[in-house]
Each structure stands twice: as C-alpha cells, then as structure tokens.
C-alpha cells in the first residue's frame, strides 16, 4: 500500500495521554500542498478512461445506441453495453442483506431513473471517451415518470432505516390526544437532497489475472471488498482497495456504488487499467440521495406545557427497485417525554435512484419537523420554547423506558442559552428589529444522535526498537481518523504519538468497520484500544515471567505501560523499556489483536445518545423575503472527546449542514422528464462563506461509563439535527409566519405564491 507521510505532531503537553489533546490533523500538510492523492489522482501505465452514458429518461427502455458512431470516434477502445460486458458472478439485483443495494450494472435495457448508466465508453483519452458517450445518441421507449408523492400508491414498508419497524407505539395516542387541553397538527415537507461531496466518485481499477487493484473512495473498505468479490466471483483476498483519503463522503461512499463497479467491469472488459470519474451532474442519480418527506405531527399537551401525546408520521419515497426508507419519524423516539408516542412511516415508489444514508439519515429529516412542531406547541401553550423543552425533558428514553447511559442535555441547554443570551428573547414573534429595520428572530432546537458502534478489528505491534505500529483499515473522509485513531493507538501502546506508525485506508488492513453512523471513532478506536492492550499484555507476560526482568513476578500486581516502558503498578521504581524486553526475548516484534463492538449487556440496559442544543438568530428583510442566519450557538455533549479540535470541526460542519437543510439544499425534479433540473453546484445550492454566520460550538463535558470503555460517542452527524429546526423556529419568531416547506424560499418568507 502507498506510504502516507503524515506530519509529526508538534510538541504538546502530555499528561500521560495523547487522547484529549487538541492536535491539528496530521494529514494537514499533505492536503494543503496537494500531495494527498485522491482516487482520481492515480494514473497507472496504460491507463484508459471510461465515461458513463447516462439515461435522460426516468422510466422506460433503451431502444438503440449508435455503437458504430461511438466506436468510429478516434481513440475509442470499447463500448460496454448490456450486450457487451464481462460476466458477473452475482445478480446485481440480488439483495442478501440490508446493507446490500441493487446496482445498475448494465444488466438489461430497462431504465428506472434519470441518470442511470446505460453504457460505458472506454477510450485512450478522457476527451475521446466523453465524445464517444455523446455519440451513442440513445433512443428510448419512454414511459411516464413518477416523481411526486401523488404519482404513486402509498404503502407501509416492512422496515425503515436499517431494520427499524415502520411503526412503533407507546401508550394510547388517540386517547391522550383526545384528553389533551391543547392540540396541534402540522405537516412539514423536506425535499430530495444529494450528498455532493466536493470529490465526485472516482475509481482507478487494474486487473492482474484474477487479482484486482482499486483506488476508490470508500467509507467501508471491507464491505466494498466483499461486494466486489461477490459480483466478480473472486476471493476477497485477491482484491486490494486503497482509500487513504475521501474527498467527503456523507454516506454516498458508504456502500460501493454502481458507477464504481462499472469502472472495474470496464477494466475487466478491455484488459487495461481504467479510470472512471463521475461528472458533477452524474452525482444526481446512481450514488444515492436523501429521500423527500412529508411529515405530519400531532401533539397534545396540558395547559402547563406537559406533553400527553406525540404522533410523528412520515411519508417518504424509495426507488421502484430497492428498499431504503428514510426513518424520519424515529427522531421522535428519544427526546421528549410523552405518555403516548407513535412513530409511523409510509412510502411511495418513484422513478429515482435509490435513496440512501445521507449524513444523519432519518434524524436530520425528522428533527426539522419535530423541532418545528415542538415550537408550535410551545407557542400554543404561550411558553418559552426552551422552557417548554425543559418541561418535557426525558429522564428516560421515551420509546423504550430505558435510562440513558449519560445525558448532559440540561447542561447543553444552559450553556448554549447563556452564551446566546436567550433570556432576553421576547415571547411574541415579530417583536425584534435590528437598527437597520430588519426583522430578527431567535429559535432553539434540540440535537440528538444515537451513539452507535459497528464491528471492527485492529492490530497493534511493538517493535524491537520500542516504537509501535497500528494497523486498522479505517477510513478518513475528513473527520480525522488519521489523527484521532492514532492518538487512541498511541495511548493503547503507552507511547508518544510520534513513536507510533499508523496505517489505515486499505482493505488489506484489518476491517475497521464502516465510517458512518458517527460510529467510526468508537468502533475502530475500541478495536485499536483492545489491540494495544493485547500487545502490552503479551509484552508484560514476557517480562513478568522472566527472572532477568525488573518486572519479574509483578504478576498479580500488574504493570502500567507509559512512554515506552512497563512499570510495576505497585512499585514504579521498577520498570523496563519495551525494547529491552523484546531484545532479551530475542523477538523482532510482538503483536496484539483487538476488536471493537457494542457491549450487548449495556445495549440492553441503557439508551445511548449524544445530545445538544442549538440556538439560532435570523435576520429577515420582509419586503424581499431575504433571510440570513446571523448567529448560531451550539452546545453538544458526546461523551469523551478524543481530539476536541477535530470534534469542534465536526460540529461546525454539521451546523452549516443545518443551515443548508433549512435554507438551501433542494433537488428540483422536472415533473415531465423526471430529471433533476439543478444537477450542478451553481443551482443545487450549498452554503458559501458569506452564508456562514458567527458560529460557535461549545463542548459540554460528559462522562459515559457505559457506552464503551473509551467513553466515546459519535460527533459527525449530531450537529445537523437541532440546527435546521432552530433556524426554522427563528424564522417564525422573526416573522410570525410558520414555514413548513423546506428549504425555505424567498417567496415563502415574503409571503407570496411560490
């Protein structure tokens, strides 16, 4: 695997620990100099270029392709079509586990969404392949596209998210609603959103007989390798996938996508290395998206603000050929105490690519509706929205009745509110103007995200010279695995960070679990922690069993590993260097293995979530509907923080995704063609610098003795939740107008037809 030359960490204060240090990222210099090599930067000898021809219709059949024209174009080597492609060992439409999604690999002439690959042109240059793809001039037999909720039959999916029941009920919602003094019912809509990492999916694939070498961004190397092995019928060991850096993932690089497999097929077909890079507009089809939703919330409360019922219904959409149902209503499972609680989901099937996990899947979509509805009920009760939330603070997880493993949400509310100056907020909307005459509004939203863990492995090595090595097939899509996991690894081996070599980003390394679900640091971190402990244990056994060692006989008292030495726990004057122990034993190195996974006993006993509170200020020009988020203060509690600097960066990024959710992101689908009309970064708006308000993230301390031995919860997704709702609520507070269709538009804020 490629060597990744990470920066050595600058000198820092160590109090016997690397974890907890706010180190700047170790891959920073590589990234600012352009030396960090992303997948598309690879250019092996003999490389050919592949370009996807994508369907311009959303439903129907490809009737013809002008293969002769494409093949006649100078430089074109091959055109891969349903009739001309390498054989696959598995049906791309087979689905044997919930993480396996059906892929479009030219299996037939059927078109099931706009942007679906219908052919791949392979050529000597990118220009020739691009031109060849254009020359295919496909003709279609077109069927009407189903693009909106009204176009298809509503049904109840068997499960939502990953194996969650579509409906969960606690208590008697109808009875509690009927008995409540105050009731509200409101419907909120969220659009389809596309992940749009700045790095489009790219793959460089090279076959050597039955061996395959791949450079491609992946949030889940082991799963990707298994998928390729299954599709091509080769042993997983024959495949190496390198993904040291992902140019952003956000979920769309979690599972191997169809276009990535097409790159591998193209290389197989022509017998040369092939590079396939998606064009930006091709990111709006075959690589997943966040499904649209129409959410109806019904809340009942006592006059004093105590909730009696919370009913969260989501209508969402999946593709016609696969199952992923945005579990938006589940956002209501954990936050607000209510004697009656129901989450329910229904769905339609549309002619789109299959929606997938997108940063805070379910939670982000559900949170903006839930936090809006909670705000509406607070207003109905004439209560301050923060006071209303505190009135309904859940001391146990509402959906399960389990205690929380830890929950510092009260502190988040308090710290955030204090920093924001929330107590000065007038209760009535439309009551604040700034010196320029703009309407000003303040809103709050609660953030939450489950503390998940997957399964991962790691290997830790202590070498003869006393330095360490950590091997873990972790994936860094920007969150900072190269830094944070190395910090955990160094602690596990009792070494300084500079003494530890850290290897990640390759499928040849131990499976570290997927980088998703905000679970990677906990999962891979625990595996690394355990591997370090295993290696130290073996080293200690060598020393304590050897009468020549100063540690001989420490046995039951045990040893402590610190700064490259083992110390007797009961007598720290007796110690020995790692290198000396290995040398005496005549060993070149000693290694340990570890794995990380959630503790089933703790899972059964506790509800585990990170929490936070986000406060937003917006300014609005009522004459033009222009809106600006001027301040965002978030306070988050997520267990122990391995690297506060990396964590803060995750919170900032998440909060801006909240801004984007509330105000900007939306795929506009042409109802006639079923195509995304704004499939570019000019019109699919994401925030620019000037959209970023004064931004503050407060790190609230939280010790969690149950979640895992390291006390780590995830931080990558939580900050979207709460933020989007806080902005929506601030808009109401500024204008008195409750906007329920997101993203908010100029028209809505100005109060004219959209």
């Amino acid at each position: 695997m490629a060597e990744i030359a990470l920066s050595t960490a600058p000198a820092h204060l160590r109090h016997g620990s690397n974890s907890g240090q706010p180190l700047t990222r170790r891959d920073g210099l590589l990234k600012v100099t352009g030396a960090a090599r992303f997948a598309a930067d690879h250019h092996p000898p003999g490389l050919l270029h592949a370009v996807i021809a994508a369907s311009t219709i959303a439903r129907g059949r490809v009737v013809s392709l002008d293969l002769a024209a494409a093949m006649a174009h100078p430089g074109v080597v091959a055109v891969m079509t349903p009739a001309h492609k390498p054989p696959l060992a598995a049906d791309p439409d087979a689905k044997t586990n919930p993480f396996m999604f059906r892929l479009d690999l030219l299996q037939n002439d059927r078109v099931r969404y706009a942007g679906q690959p219908i052919a791949v042109v392979i050529a000597e240059t990118l220009e020739a392949a691009t031109e060849g793809a254009a020359l295919l001039a496909p003709r279609y037999q077109r069927e009407p596209a189903r693009v909106g909720f009204e176009d298809a039959t509503v049904f109840t999916p068997p499960a939502v998210g990953v194996g969650s029941p579509a409906e969960v009920v606690v208590g008697d919602v109808a009875a509690e609603l009927a008995a409540a003094r105050l009731r509200i019912e409101a419907t909120y809509e969220t659009p389809a959103q596309y992940h749009n990492p700045i790095e489009p999916h790219a793959i460089v694939a090279a076959w050597d007989g039955e061996k395959l070498s791949v450079d491609t961004p992946s949030q889940g190397l082991a799963m990707a390798r298994a998928r390729i092995a299954g599709l091509f019928g080769i042993p997983a060991e024959n495949i190496e996938i390198r993904s040291p850096f992902l140019g952003g993932g956000f979920g769309c690089k979690g599972m191997l996508s169809g276009p990535q497999v097409l790159g591998i097929m193209a290389a197989r077909l022509v017998g040369w290395p092939v590079k396939l890079v998606l064009r930006r507009e091709q990111m709006f089809g075959p690589v997943g998206h966040r499904a649209p939703s129409r959410q109806t919330l019904r809340l009942g409360a006592e006059a004093g603000g105590r909730l009696r019922a919370l009913d969260h219904h989501t209508l969402t959409a999946s593709s016609t050929f696969d199952d992923f149902f945005e579990p938006a209503s589940n956002a209501s499972h954990t936050l607000y105490a209510s004697p009656a609680l129901r989450s329910a989901h229904e769905a339609v099937r549309l002619d789109t690519g299959t929606p997938l996990f997108m940063r805070a899947p379910g939670e982000a979509t559900g949170s903006i509706a839930l936090e809006s509805a909670i705000d509406e009920m607070a207003a109905a009760c004439a209560m301050d929205p923060l006071a209303f939330r505190l009135e309904n603070y859940a001391e146990v997880e509402p959906i399960s009745g389990k205690p929380f493993s830890s929950k510092a949400l009260r502190e988040c509310y308090a710290r955030g509110a204090e920093r924001f100056g929330w107590t000065a907020r007038p209760l009535a909307p439309g009551a604040m103007r700034d010196e320029a005459g703009l309407l000003v509004g303040w809103g709050v939203g609660t953030a939450t995200f489950p503390a998940l863990m997957f399964q991962g492995q790691a290997r830790a090595v202590i070498r003869a010279d006393g330095t360490g090595l950590i091997e873990c097939g972790a994936q860094d899509m920007g969150q900072g695995a190269w830094t944070a996991l190395a910090q955990i690894g160094a602690d596990g081996l009792g070494l300084d960070l500079e003494q530890v070599e850290f290897r990640a980003g390759s499928s040849d390394l131990p499976d570290a679990g997927i980088a998703g679900g905000s679970a990677h640091t906990a999962t891979a971190g625990m595996a690394i922690h355990a591997a370090g402990a295993d290696a130290i244990g073996r080293l200690a056994a060598l020393a304590t069993g050897d009468e020549r060692s100063a540690l001989f006989g420490a046995g039951n008292a045990g040893v402590i590993a610190r700064a490259g030495r083992l110390y007797r726990r009961d007598d720290e004057t007796r110690s020995e260097r790692y290198a000396d122990i290995l040398a005496r034993a005549g060993l070149f190195e000693i290694d340990g293995r570890g794995s990380g996974a959630a503790d089933p006993v703790a899972l059964a006993r506790y509800a585990m979530h990170a929490h936070g509170a986000v406060f937003a200020e917006v300014k609005i020009d009522p004459e033009f509907g222009q809106i600006r988020v001027s301040r965002l203060v978030g306070a988050f509690a997520a267990g122990r923080l391995v690297n506060p600097r990396l964590v803060r960066s995750q919170y900032y990024g998440g909060m801006i995704w909240g801004v984007s959710f509330a105000l900007h992101e939306r795929a506009v689908v042409d109802p006639r063609s079923g195509r995304v009309m704004n499939a570019n970064l000019a019109e699919y708006r994401v925030p620019v610098n000037a959209d970023v308000p004064s931004l503050e993230a407060i790190l609230v301390e939280e010790e969690d003795p149950h979640v895992n031995a390291l006390g780590i919860k995830g931080v990558g997704e939580i900050a979207i939740t709460g933020s989007a709702g806080a902005i929506a609520n601030a808009i109401w507070h500024a204008t008195g107008r409750r906007l329920r269709r997101f993203p908010v538009t100029l028209e809505q804020v100005a109060g004219v037809a959209g």
């Binding site: 992303f38 222009q626 600006r628 100029l746």
Partner: protein, 487 residues
C-alpha cells in the same frame, strides 16, 4: 503566426502544441503534467477546487490572479505564468504562509477542496487587502467546502495575512519577469488541428479581419461561459477567436464625462474604476460569480451573451450605456437599450464585434442604486436584479433611468416607469404611479429561482426601497446592506 503556446509553469518554460484547441488548463495540469494537486469538483467554475494562479507582468511587477482552471483554455496561457498548488512552497520546501495557516487553523477536513482554497487565499494575501470578514468572504466566494463549515478557513485567512513572512511567490519576481518578457508572444497565435481553429489575434485590425473571415466563430473573452459550453454542453467549436491577446481591447479610459471600457476588460479590472463613480455598481459586480470568475469574465462578454439574467445590464441600461461596435473598419455606436432583439439575440451583424462600452459619468445630483436579489448571498444567479439612476432637482425628478433583469426575455429598460416619474415630485404619489407602470411593464415568469409573483412583488418593492433611500422624506438607505456578512 505561432502555432504553439508558450508560458511558464511555475519557473519552468513550457511550449505546448495543443491537439485539442479547447483543452482546459485543468486537463493539461492533471493529465499532461501529472500535477494532481489541482482538483476537479464540478467542471463548471462553481466549486473552486481547481483554482490556479495566472501571473502576468503588469507595470513592472508580477500580478497574480486566481482563476478556475476547469473552464480556462490552455491556449489562453500564451505568454503568462501558471502556478498550481505545487508551486507555492519556497524553494527549500518550506510551506507557503497560507499553507501553514491552513494547517495550524485546522482548515481542511476531507482536503479535496483545500488546494483550491489555498490558491485563492494565496492570491488574496498577495493582493494585500485588509483581511476583514467581508474581504475574506469575497475572496473565498468561489470556493465551496462541504465539510468545515468554513469558519476554520476564515480563521486561516486572517492568520495567513497576519503572518509577516515574505511571500515566497515574490522571491523570484525579477527572474520571472525577465523570463516572461523573453517568451512574450510577438505574433498572433493560430492553432489549426483537424479543421478546428483557435485564433488569438494581437491587434484590433487583425481581429476585425478574422471576425469577417469567420463570422460563425465562437468569440472567447473570459471564457466563463464558453468554457462551460465545452466542459458541460460538450460543444467542440470549429473556430474560436480569442480576444484576450488583442492589444488595447481591454483598455479602460476616462474622459471628463465618460468611462470607456474595452470589450475584454475583466470585471476585476473594470470594477474599481466603475465603483469610484458608481459605488453601487461596484457592489453589484462584487456579487457576480466569484473572484475566480471576475478575474476572467468581462463586462463585454456579459453584454454580448445577452442572457436575460446577466447582472450588469440593468445597471448599464439605467445609466444609458452606449456600445461601440466594429465590423472591419466600420464603427457604429448605439445605446445598449437597442442592442437586444429577443431572448439571447442581439443586433450584431455577421462579422461585427463589440469593441467598447461607454458609460456616462454621473450627472450632478444623480443618485445611482443597484440591487441584486438572490437566495444565496454570493455566487448565486439573480432572482431579480434592478438598477436606477435618479436625478432630483428641487424635489422633482429631472432624470430617471431604470433597468431590470430577471423579469423578461432580455434585460430591459422600463420606459413606462421612467415616463411615470419624470418631471414629478419624488413623493408617494409618484412612487405609486411608478409601481403601476412597473406592473404594466412586466409579466415575469416563474422558474427555479423565483416565482413570477415573487418577482413582481420584489420589483415593486425595489422601487419602494429606492424611494425610501432617496426621497427627501424617506428613511435613508438603512436596509441596503441587509445581507452584510457576519463579523
């Protein structure tokens, strides 16, 4: 005539023969030079991951500007210096102050957009402007980051500007100047491959002759639109006439009563001059595209493109700008208001080209206001754009020009509004009359950016805003800067 493109890549001289006359700078860097630090994120000039610096000798010094490599043609490098992220470090490998600040401030996460940010910030630091939040936002408006929430990048911008270290890009300046001097093109460039032509004349006369010889040719100014036609619409123009090397066509001249802007003057060059006389016009230009776009794009290109949502036309129309067109040696002058025939259609005759734009300087007492309404503050296409030139004499309107964009098939003046207010007192009654005239003048359509209803409301409200800002009884211009960035 030269058939190869000669330029400096970093400090190394390059002479390349382009098999594809519209090969982009980005493809050239990544494929031919294997310089992969420069990234492709969108190939449409929106994300800025491909930002590079173009160096040119100006007034005895090197001037560096950030541009998007993805929509710039390699053929336009002739006689220039190209710097990519690999060129920033000092000769001994010490990272550039911007690179150091980006690391120290933790300003990258995934790192894919990072080289583009680094280059944009390097240009910003070289330009030496005060690193206010507004200036930083402006410098980075053309760089999208999906990970960091931008705040650490803004911190890095401040830190880099505060770093007193000399800029390594200035270390070799005199040598670079000498090298550029040595390879400066003395003849026109004419690349002819497989029947496709890329022609870069060096004089106006030569340009005029080529335009007559190839009346169907695609004319290339800044290329921010033509580049898109190639990278996104996959067009292979048979003949491109590049205007960038024509001597004097980018001249900006002022007389006692006029500002004359050559057709190839970039926004970046024209804006300071325009802003001196019409600050609001300068502000409007600041919100067109991004720095990278404005460093390449030209006022002339915006006019000739004839887009109904081109942002400068409302201002130019309100100010009664005049165009000087040339065909061969024949020159004619006409008001911009007479230039558009319909949606994306102009009155340019075959072989005729725009040579200069003439703006009057403000008349005594004239007030000029320009407004751009868009969903996103920066780098967004206008929902509605409007500009007004108002002259008051003793409380009466003695002069009024109004230009609107986004309301009709072409950018349009509004003669009915002008007639409704001219000669009248600038009061509520006149404003009401102007509003009625506005409603009679426009029936805006609904599209992805805004609904017709919104456009109608906003257009009328812009008239009111103008009134509130300018009427003797009005409340001043309090709300004009509503979307000023956060500190």
């Amino acid at each position: 005539m030269g058939a190869t493109v000669r330029f400096l890549l970093g400090e190394a001289e390059r002479e390349i023969a382009l098999a594809d006359p519209t090969r982009t700078v980005l493809d050239y860097l990544r494929t031919d030079e294997r310089r992969t630090g420069t990234k492709e994120g969108c190939a449409e000039g929106d994300c800025g991951a491909c930002t590079v610096l173009l160096g040119e000798a100006r007034d005895g010094a090197m001037r560096y500007r950030a541009v998007n490599a993805c929509i710039a043609f390699a053929a336009t490098l002739d006689g220039k210096q190209l710097l990519s992220v690999e060129d920033l470090a000092a000769a001994d490998g010490t990272p550039h102050p911007v690179q150091r600040a980006m690391v120290a401030q933790h300003a990258s996460q995934c790192g894919f957009c990072t080289p583009g940010f680094v280059m944009a910030l390097a240009a910003f630091r070289l330009a030496g402007a005060a690193p206010t939040r507004a200036a930083i936002d402006d410098a980075l408006a053309g760089n999208l980051c999906r990970c960091t929430g931008y705040r650490p990048i803004i911190d890095a911008a401040r830190a880099a500007c505060a770093d007193p270290a000399p800029d390594p890009l200035r270390a070799n300046e005199s040598a670079t100047l000498a090298r550029l001097q040595a390879l400066a093109p003395r003849t026109s460039l004419a690349i002819v491959r497989d029947g496709r032509r890329f022609l870069a004349p060096r004089s106006i006369a030569e340009l005029a002759a080529l335009c007559e010889e190839f009346p169907e040719a695609t004319r290339l100014a800044g290329g921010t639109d033509v580049g898109l036609a190639v990278t996104k619409a996959l067009q292979d123009p048979a003949c491109v006439i590049a205007l960038g090397a024509v001597c004097g066509l980018d001249a900006i001249e002022e007389s006692a009563h006029t500002i004359t802007i050559g057709a190839t003057a970039t926004y970046s060059d024209a804006a300071p001059v325009i802003a001196r006389h019409y600050p609001d016009f300068g502000e409007l230009i600041r919100r067109i595209g991004s720095v990278q776009v404005r460093n390449a794009a030209t006022l002339g290109g915006n006019i000739v493109n004839a887009s109904p949502i081109g942002d400068t036309m409302p201002a130019l129309l309100a100010l009664d700008a005049r165009l000087i067109l040339r065909r061969g040696s024949a020159v004619r002058e006409l008001p911009l208001a007479g230039f558009y025939r319909g949606y994306r259609e102009t009155v340019l005759a075959p072989g005729e080209f725009l040579e200069r734009v003439v703006l009057p300087k403000p008349a005594p007492g004239q007030i000029f206001r320009a407004y751009k309404l868009s969903k996103r503050f920066d780098q967004d296409i206008s929902a509605v754009c409007a500009a007004f030139a108002l002259t008051l004499e003793a409380g009466r309107v003695s002069g009024f020009g109004a230009g609107f964009g986004g309301l009709a098939a072409t950018p349009a003046r509004a003669p009915a509004i002008e007639a409704a207010v001219l000669g009248r007192r600038w009061d509520e009654a006149t404003l009401a009359a102007a509003g009625e005239a506005f409603d009679a003048s426009f029936t805006p359509l609904s599209d992805m950016r805004a609904s017709g209803a919104y456009r109608r409301l906003a257009g009328r409200n812009l008239l009111r805003k103008l009134y509130l800002e300018t009427a003797p009884s009005g409340s001043g211009r309090a709300r004009t800067r509503i979307l000023e960035p956060a500190p």
